[in-house]
């Protein structure tokens, strides 16, 4: 406790000396400004005189001095020994609250990080040829889980004020973009697996050939074998449920992202008084329906004319 009071006094002295320095700085800089203006022939206060002129000359300094004095008084009051304990308890309460609120998040974060590292290590491992059971979906799901639990909630914080609606759209755009990119990354990862598996098969075959002392004279032969194996791996991948699930997630998340992107673009276009794509769609729909109606009516008129002629 004594230590805290001493520290408090130290801080008080530090603040006092800093404010004294600052006072001098502002006084001197104001004085220099006046000198500079005088030498250049400029004098903004030519009509002012006496104390009023002084007030105008030093108004920045005086305003600043008043603010600093108030702050110093407040700090001194807070640093007074009889207030130190209350101040300390209050600070501890804030620290505890902060630690409590971030504690859960940190635990989740560490657990997810552990899972993610494990999954990433698995991605780096070789996979079996012509077998897609080992396609690792969990790494990408871990990242998405991490995003959903630890990042998405910050984007979903309610927006306030006049630009609330626009800020909401921007947050949603960031959110949908993150989700789409995560699915796209997973799709790209899946596309890399046939290459990895094919290279593994080829390495084994080439090793066997070299160990046998044979030499493949025509590289085309090796390429043909490689492309055939690669095609086989791709065929396995492209019809697998894992691939189709990821493809579907990519399509739906792309659709969601594009929708929000259009919202944001529309907001800008509206500001500039330019019709948006959606505005034009309404016009096009009306045109489409009108054309259809006209065609129907034309046919009916033609039929009636024929009847009349008959």
């Amino acid at each position: 406790m004594t230590e805290t009071i001493n520290e408090g006094n130290e801080i008080g002295r530090l603040v006092e000396s800093w404010t004294a320095m600052a006072k001098n700085f502002w006084r001197e800089s104001n004085a220099h400004r006046e000198e500079g203006m005088g030498s250049s022939g400029l004098n903004f206060d030519s009509t002012a005189g006496g104390d009023e002129a002084d007030d105008n000359k030093y108004k920045t300094y005086k305003s600043w001095e008043a603010t600093v004095n108030n702050s110093v008084s407040f700090l001194k009051l807070m640093m007074a020994p009889e207030n130190q304990e209350t101040l300390y308890r209050s600070a501890s309460a804030y620290t505890e609250a902060l630690a409590q609120s971030t504690g859960d998040s940190m635990e989740n974060f560490i657990e997810l990080q552990r899972q993610a590292v494990k999954s990433l290590a698995e991605i780096g491992e070789h996979t079996k040829a012509y077998n897609l059971d080992d396609l690792d979906h969990s790494a990408f799901e871990s990242f998405r889980e991490l995003y959903r639990t630890e990042m998405q909630k910050y984007l979903k914080i309610p927006k306030i004020g006049l630009p609330r609606e626009f800020h909401e759209s921007l947050s949603e755009l960031a959110d949908k973009s993150n989700i789409f990119i995560s699915h796209l990354n997973e799709l790209i990862y899946q596309f890399s697996t046939p290459f990895e598996k094919t290279n593994r098969v080829m390495q084994t075959r080439i090793k066997a050939v070299l160990e046998g002392g044979e030499f493949v004279e025509d590289p085309k032969q090796v390429y043909n074998e490689w492309i055939k194996i690669l095609e086989g791996h791709f065929m396995e991948l492209l019809k697998s449920k894992e691939y189709i699930d990821v493809l579907n997630s990519t399509i739906t998340s792309l659709a969601a992202y594009k929708g929000v992107k259009t919202d944001v673009t529309d907001a800008f276009l509206k500001e500039m008084q330019i019709p948006t794509g959606r505005d034009m769609d309404k016009v096009y729909k009306d045109m489409y329906q009108m054309k259809k109606k006209i065609r129907e009516l034309s046919k009916q008129v033609e039929k009636l004319q024929n009847k009349v002629e008959v």
């Binding site: 160990e211 492309i227 690669l230 791709f234």
Partner: protein, 358 residues
């Protein structure tokens, strides 16, 4: 572990030989790539005889008409009809004209955002029906022959079922009618994903995204091996020209109107309504029993987009008794562009139509 016996001398000798041949090849390749290449596609002369919004009708005239009834070619909304006239001497259009068949071909154009609400019904009962009426009026006939290709084949089937009095003979090529099969990856993906939502998101389904999807059906061959093959043959001018023509065609992909794309996936890929005669277009049921005209049905044994299982059921579900199925040992595109099919495909169609041309 055995010690590898690496024949270093042989490897070094090979490197030297390859270095020389690669240098020679690169010099020749540079000369070819920087020279004038003939890579134009769709060079057979035609007239545009009808236009409706983005859709145009091409008219190809044979030197001598042998088949009195003209043939209307309905291509898919995916990629473009230029595939049927890829290059001289490798052109379905050229072969059919040589056989005396007068051709009308629909060019669907490039749908824009305003076309996103167009349904299958708008294509079949709108554009196609109007085009058929136009040709019939122009030629003073009541019926014509229809050749449908892939998705265009589906439109042809629907049109023939809804307007059977207008169709004299129907030819379907690589046309999916039965979607209840897991033989093709496209069938698996379309059934098990929500790909149809992309139509809403992009207003129309972007052609480039669809093309990417088609490349991913066989990435090893279509993204890697194809270009390795190109590099290997880069010193062959003829090969380079053909390759570039094909690249021009394959990456010329119009978007598909969102409403049509969604309907195609929901009603056909997911619910398989067409082959069950349960599909409804503009409130009318598409009853395959209404297809009583002669039907010739082509498909490819190695077609990875529309597998044989997706095509072969059609002739057994329609009302016609004059039907024929022909399965070529080729893939989805090979049926139109491979040399072997070129010799058999168009002549077979012409002969079959002539035999039914009164």
């Amino acid at each position: 572990m055995n010690q590898a016996k690496i024949p270093v001398d042989l490897i070094l000798k090979n490197i030297e030989v390859n270095r020389k041949s690669t240098q020679k090849k690169l010099r020749k390749a540079t000369a070819i790539l920087t020279s004038e290449l003939e890579t134009d596609i769709s060079t057979t002369p035609y007239d545009i005889v009808y236009e409706e919004e983005r859709v145009k009708l091409k008219h190809y005239r044979p030197e001598k008409v042998r088949c009195k009834t003209p043939l209307l070619v309905i291509y898919a909304l995916i990629n473009r009809e230029t595939m049927l006239d890829l290059q001289p001497r490798r052109s379905v259009v050229e072969s059919l004209l040589a056989q005396g068949v007068e051709i009308y071909m629909i060019d669907w154009g490039y749908p824009t955002r305003k076309d996103q609400f167009l349904t299958i019904g708008d294509h079949v009962n709108g554009f196609i029906a109007n085009i058929v009426d136009f040709i019939c009026e122009k030629k003073g006939i009541t019926q014509l022959n229809i050749l449908g290709i892939c998705m265009g084949g589906v439109f042809s089937i629907i049109y023939s079922a809804l307007h059977p009095h207008r169709v004299k003979n129907l030819v379907t090529t690589v046309t999916p009618s039965n979607f209840d099969t897991d033989k093709g990856l496209l069938n698996i993906w379309m059934k098990q994903t929500d790909a149809q939502i992309l139509g809403d998101v992009y207003a129309n389904m972007p052609g480039d995204i669809m093309n990417l999807g088609f490349l991913l059906l066989n990435p090893a061959r279509l993204i890697i091996d194809k270009y390795v093959g190109f590099i290997q043959n880069i010193d062959d001018k003829n090969y380079v020209e053909n390759f570039i023509r094909m690249e021009k065609w394959i990456f010329d992909s119009p978007d598909v109107p969102a409403a049509t794309f969604k309907q195609f996936i929901d009603d056909l890929y997911k619910k398989n309504l067409l082959i069950e005669s349960k599909l409804e277009i503009d409130g009318e049921r598409v009853d395959l029993q209404n297809i009583t005209m002669p039907v010739l049905n082509f498909y490819g044994r190695f077609d990875h987009l529309v597998p044989p299982e997706a095509c072969s059921l059609l002739t057994s579900r329609i009302g016609s008794s004059d039907t024929e199925d022909i399965c070529f040992d080729t893939g989805h595109i090979g049926i139109y562009v491979s040399s072997k099919c070129q010799r058999e495909f168009a002549p077979k169609i012409a002969d079959w139509l002539l035999a039914r041309d009164n």
